[in-house]
C-alpha cells in the first residue's frame, strides 16, 4: 500500500503528516511526503516599475528553498520519532498540476492533504486545493482531508 501526503509546511499539512504517519504505521504502508515549490511569486518580478528584480528573485528562491527544507526536517523528525521509514519528495511548479503529475507517475492508494476550515466567503474565494484534487483524481484513490482544527 502506498500513501502520498501533501506537505506545504502550514499547520493543516502538519496535521495531515501526523495522520499519514499513523495510518502508515497501522497498515504498514509506504509513506511519501510531497512538497511543491510554487514559483507563483516569481512571476511578478517584471512588474512595470519593479526595482531590485534580481534581489527579489534571489530572495524568493531562498525563502522557498528554506520552506522546503524546514518542511523536510519536520517530516523527518516525525518519522524518526514514530520509527517509520518514509520518503520526502520536492517538485517545482503549480501545486495542483505537480500533485496530479506525481500521482500519475507513482500512483498511490491513499492521498492525504491538509484542509483549512473555510467560512462561506473564504470557500468562495479560496483556491481550495483539496476540493480541486478531489475533482481530478482517479476514483480508485482514497482521499483524506485533515482539517485544521
Amino acid at each position: 500500500m502506498r500513501i502520498l501526503v501533501c506537505a506545504d509546511g502550514e499547520l493543516h499539512s502538519k496535521n495531515a503528516i501526523k495522520k499519514a504517519i499513523s495510518l502508515g504505521l497501522f497498515v504498514s504502508a509506504e509513506v511519501t511526503a510531497l512538497h511543491v515549490i510554487d514559483p507563483w511569486l516569481k512571476t511578478f518580478y517584471n512588474e512595470i516599475y519593479a526595482q531590485g528584480r534580481k534581489q527579489y528573485l534571489e530572495y524568493v528562491d531562498k525563502c522557498l528553498q528554506e520552506n522546503a527544507e524546514q518542511t523536510r526536517r519536520a517530516f523527518n523528525q516525525e518519522c524518526v520519532a514514530e520509527r517509520l521509514n518514509a520518503t520526502f519528495k520536492v517538485r517545482h511548479g503549480e501545486p495542483l498540476v505537480e500533485i496530479l503529475e506525481e500521482m500519475n507517475e507513482f500512483p498511490p492508494d491513499v492521498l492525504i492533504t491538509g484542509g483549512k476550515c473555510l467560512n462561506v466567503w473564504s470557500r468562495f474565494k479560496s483556491r481550495n486545493l483539496p476540493l480541486q484534487l478531489k475533482k481530478k483524481i482517479n476514483k480508485e484513490v482514497s482521499m483524506i482531508v485533515v482539517d485544521n482544527i
Binding site: F44, E47, I48, Y49, A50, Y56, S122
Partner: protein
Amino acid sequence: MPDCGKYVPGFLFCLSFAYIGMNLDRLIASYHNAGADWATFLYESAQLNYVAILLLGGIVIRNTLPIPKALLPGIKIARPIIKPGIIILGVHYVWADVVRVGSVGLVLTAFFIFGTAIIVMWFCKRWGVSDGLGGIMGAGTGVCGVSAIIATSPVVKANPIEMAYAIGTILLFGTLMLFTMPYIGNSIGLSESQFGAWSALAILNTAQLVAAAEWYGTEALNTAVLINVARIMFLPLVVLFALWFYVLRTGKQDSNREINKWHLVRDKFPIFIIGFFLLVLLNSMNIQSLGGPRVAGSPFWAMNAVYTWCFAIGFAGIGLSISIADMKKAGGTAFTIGMTASLVKMVLGLVVVLLIGSQLLRIAGS
C-alpha cells in the same frame, strides 16, 4: 544566451490583440460620429474605448479560455512595454508643466505616500502584524503596489505566504479601482486632469493606474503619468524608511551583514524616469529639427504615434495577465489592510483633487 524565442508567440498574440482592440475602437468611434445609437451608447455611456476593450477582453480570454503555455512568457513581457510608452510620453510636457503640476504632485504624493506608509506600518506594529507583512503592505499601499512589494520584501524579510496575500490583495483592489473609478469620475463630472491626479494618488498598482487614466482621456493620462513619476521617485525613500522602521530602529540588523544605504537607494531608483525627463527637456528646448507631438512628420510626432502602440500592447498584456486565481490569493490581514488603505486613499484623494480644481493639474504641453 537568453532564450528569446519563447517570448515571440505570446508577444505576437498581444500585438494582434492590441491591433484588433485599436481598430474596434476606431470602428465604434466612426459609427458614433455617424450617429448610430448603439455606437453612441458604447462610446459615451459604456466608455468602451480601446483600453476597455483590451482590458475586459483580456480578462475574459484569460479566465475563460485555456491559454496555451507557449503564450505565457510573451504575455508577461508585453506588460512592461508600457514603460517605453511612458518615457516617450515625455514629449507631451514642457518644464513649465513639470514645475507647476509636478510640484503639486510632489507635495500630494509625499503626503499620500508617506502618510499611507507611516500609518499602515504604525497600525500594523500596534496590532501585532508581522514586520514582513506590515512593511510590504505599507510600501505596497503607499507607493506603487506590486512593484513596491518587490522592492521592499527582501529588505523587511517578508515570508512567501505574506507576500502572496499582499500581492493578491493589491491586484484585487487595483483591478476593482481600475474598473470603478472611471465611472465614478464621469458620474460626478470630474475633469480629465482632476481624474488623472485622483488615479495617481488612489489606485494602488501602477499598471492599473496608467490604464484607468488612459481610459478616461489623454489629458487624464498626462497628469497621471507626471504625478506618478513623482510618486515612484519616492520608492527608494519608502524602502529606506521601511528598513529604518523595522530593522535599524529595532536593532534587528544581521550583525555580519552591513547594509549600505546608498546602494539600497541606488538599486531601488527607477532609472527610466531619467529618459522621461530627458524628453521633457528636449521638448522644452523647442529644437526645430525635433518638431513636436503635433507637428506632422517630425521625430516627436512619430514618437507620439508610437506611444499609443506601446500602451495598447501593454494593456493587452495587463488584461491577459489579470487572473481571478491570482486575486483569490488575497486574504488574511493583508486583505483588511488593503481594503482600508484603498478606500481611505480613494475618498481623501477625491476630496483633495476637488479642492485643488482643474487648473493647477492641467498639462498645457508645448
